[in-house]
């Protein structure tokens, strides 16, 4: 390979002094048995709902015993006979109209409306829980109904329409299910949800009263239906998407991120104090609109002096981010081919460990990356916060003046990465900051150690394109020849093509209008393009598998909707 020696790096190494106070007395080891900062917990109301579900299950068992069934049926009929004493023609007409509220169309309308809204607001975690609980409730209702096989109220004229066995009352269960589902996935917790609960109670109460009047259901059919239709989704939402962790919010930029207030906010402060010795004064989310792979945080911590504050940068990683990363890499494999190893992380811990490791490794190599301060465990294997230096006073490359000092420093950074055997893999203006005439690199989470030569060449090409946006290809090329051989540049642009350029950089080049890559290719020695492995067996298999999965998914979705009673 044709290269020139690495230029001297007098400023290399640890150039950023620590800005935070020494570890405080807060640092401590969590003893065995002590819960983590943010333990998974089940609140009292959820426990009550679980108890109700258990009681309903016990009641269903009792109904399978002949003596208990007789006793319960006679008690139910006593209530219904008492209700029947107030029957009149006008009242019956009213009750029939009230009962019509629970029609299949009402349930379908609310259910599909909820699903559409969740999709529109990209609240996919809520959507997954909603679909699962809807199916579970529908199947459970059918299974219990078939197992018990209870008749409709006997000995009393039934005035309203009915279908299927009586226990549990399917229309009541389904109506409660869609109302609870809509409330817990669409309505923000607090006053609005409380008002919604009240409205739902009124609707359910009216429908239940009407059906008792019409003698369509036994009272106990409705009680168990309400428990099934309301408690099951509430328990599911409280466990899978707890409000304090996954709040329903319609504020811009918040939906893809975890809430860092409330219990989690306190847990972050406590974890950073106990595990990293950071005296955190405040935790604030910021720049959320630009990120989805983690929840970025601005951490204000106590500095060296009592009245001195320092600012650190943090990223909160959770299981949802890990899953997103897996799908992101799968999509990359399908869309771009296997440009390089894109193995997803197996756990959140692995992901955060890797980023911490990369920060330290790149720091040790003298690269101008944020100084790492370690990471803290919030919920074991589920949530972690990684903390690093915040580059105060730095600007994005596209907003800085790209003079010779900046160009040289930026190219030296690439040269140093080559020497250290690392690749950034996401070189673009927003990840290259400038402070004074110094170039700083951020977002190293997806960097690679011992990358392919092709990837190293792509890093150089992307850095030169980034620099050329604020300068000219000719000037950047001339400065590059002071650090790289002409053949290195030729290799870089032989490796570079549209798909290897990050989206942001590609957009900026398009907006710029100049053929920057073409200009570099004309300047550098001629070299044949390096073939990128666009289609290989793995990519073809994954693409075919994914297409087949989507087709199957569509067919199964129809089956799901039928099974759940949504069609």
């Amino acid at each position: 390979m044709n290269t020139v020696p690495t230029p001297g790096t007098p400023g290399a190494g640890r150039r950023v002094a620590p800005v935070i106070a020494p570890p405080s007395l807060g640092r401590r080891r969590r003893p065995s048995g002590e819960p983590p900062p943010l333990p998974r917990r089940i609140d009292y109301s959820t426990r009550w709902y679980l108890l109700l579900l258990a009681l309903a299950a016990g009641f269903w068992v009792a109904l399978s015993l002949r003596p208990a069934l007789g006793l319960i049926t006679r008690a139910d009929l006593t209530v219904l006979r008492a209700v029947a004493t107030v029957r009149s023609v006008p009242l019956t007409s009213v009750m029939l109209h009230v009962d019509a509220v629970r029609s299949g169309w009402t349930v379908r309308l609310i259910a599909w409306g909820t699903i559409a809204t969740l999709v529109a607001f990209r609240r996919f975690r809520h959507l997954a829980v909603y679909l699962a609980v809807f199916l579970a409730a529908a199947l459970l209702d059918s299974a219990v109904s078939l197992e018990i096989g209870r008749m409709r109220p006997a000995g009393i004229p039934i005035l309203g329409p009915w279908q299927g066995y009586a226990q549990p009352s399917r229309p009541v269960a389904m109506l409660a299910l869609v109302l609870a589902g809509a409330l817990y996935t669409l309505v923000p917790a607090g006053n609005w949800r409380n008002r919604g609960k009240l409205a739902a109670a009124v609707v359910l109460g009216a429908v239940c009263a009407a059906r008792l009047y019409l003698a369509v259901d036994h009272p106990t059919d409705q009680v168990t239906a309400l428990i099934l239709g309301w408690s099951l989704p509430v328990v599911a939402f409280c466990l899978a998407v707890p409000t304090d962790v996954f709040p329903v919010s319609y504020r811009r930029g918040q939906r893809a991120h975890l809430d860092v207030g409330g219990r989690r906010g306190a847990a972050i402060v406590s974890a950073l104090d106990h595990q990293l010795g950071l005296d955190v004064l405040s935790v604030q989310p910021f720049g959320l609109e630009a990120s989805a792979g983690s929840t970025p945080l601005l951490l204000r911590v106590r500095g060296r002096g009592d009245d001195h504050e320092a600012v650190l940068f943090g990223k909160l990683y959770a299981l949802s981010h890990l899953r997103s990363d897996r799908w992101y890499k799968l999509a990359r494999t399908v869309i771009y081919g296997r440009l390089e190893d894109e193995k997803p992380f197996s756990t959140v811990r692995r992901l955060v460990e890797y980023e911490d490791h990369l920060l330290r490794l790149m720091g040790d190599a003298g690269l101008p990356t944020p100084r790492p301060y370690g990471f803290a465990e919030i919920t074991p294997e589920r949530e972690y916060v990684i903390v690093m230096e915040f580059f105060a006073g730095a600007r994005e490359m596209r907003q800085a003046q790209v003079d010779d000092h900046v160009i040289d420093d930026a190219l030296r950074v690439v040269r140093r990465m080559w020497d250290a055997g690392v690749a950034h893999r996401d070189m673009k203006p927003s990840n290259v900051l400038v402070k004074g005439s110094r170039v700083l690199l951020i977002d190293v989470a997806f960097a690679a150690v011992r990358p392919t030569p092709w990837r190293q060449a792509v890093d150089l090409a992307n850095m030169m394109l980034t620099l050329a946006l604020g300068s000219t290809p000719e000037h950047v090329y001339q400065r590059a020849l002071r650090i790289f051989a002409a053949e290195d540049v030729a290799e870089a642009f032989a490796a570079s093509r549209s798909i290897t350029v990050p989206n942001q950089l590609r957009s900026l080049i398009r907006a710029d209008g100049r053929d920057l890559a073409g200009a570099f290719r004309r300047l550098a020695p001629k070299r044949r393009p390096i073939p990128v492995q666009l289609w290989d067996v793995r990519r073809a298999a994954i693409t075919a598998g994914l297409a087949a999965s989507l087709l199957i998914a569509m067919a199964l979705l129809v089956a799901y909707a039928r099974a759940a009673g949504l069609l």
Binding site: L131, G149, Y165, P296, L433, I442, L557
Partner: protein
Amino acid sequence: MRHRLAAQSRACRTRPRVLAAGLAAAGLAAASTLTGCATASDPVPGCGAPLRLAIIAQSVPGASYVPCIRQLPQGWTTSSFDPARGATSFTLNSDRAPGEPVTVRLAAGCRPGRATPSPPRAPGVATYTWLASISPRVTGRLYDVFPGGCVTYRFDFPLGPHIGLMEEFGSAIGLYSRQQLRRTLKQELGVELDP
């Protein structure tokens, strides 16, 4: 400041969440298929389970008989049991007539029309048979008419095995007397079937 913060926060990339949601839904749908569609395989009450037959009797309050499964011959299954106000229907499926189940429906009345009388299947029941075609398939209807109700059996069998199939489904379905059902409910649960 704002730009700098945003820049440093772009540690994360946009993710194809739609894929995740689609696959999650696919998983759920698969689960639903594996667990069996809730309404596709409802068993029809047997003649030996009178408490379960009560709901059929309630669907047609005046019917003096209700259909029930006496014993399913080899190769037959039931599905789509649908008791509702005014009528009850279900289907009988034979592995020798795939895709063409026998549809059984109890209603308050029916119109045998030009159907020819057959030997009655129970006391007080008038049975009729009407054949729409005998080749290439044997299709038609069987009627059990009794006070307050009528059971209609719609069949479509391949020519040849149709004789055995008709005998089998005829013997598989029994008629349970409402009077007997009323007595059983009174004894077992202490309730009256009819108002």
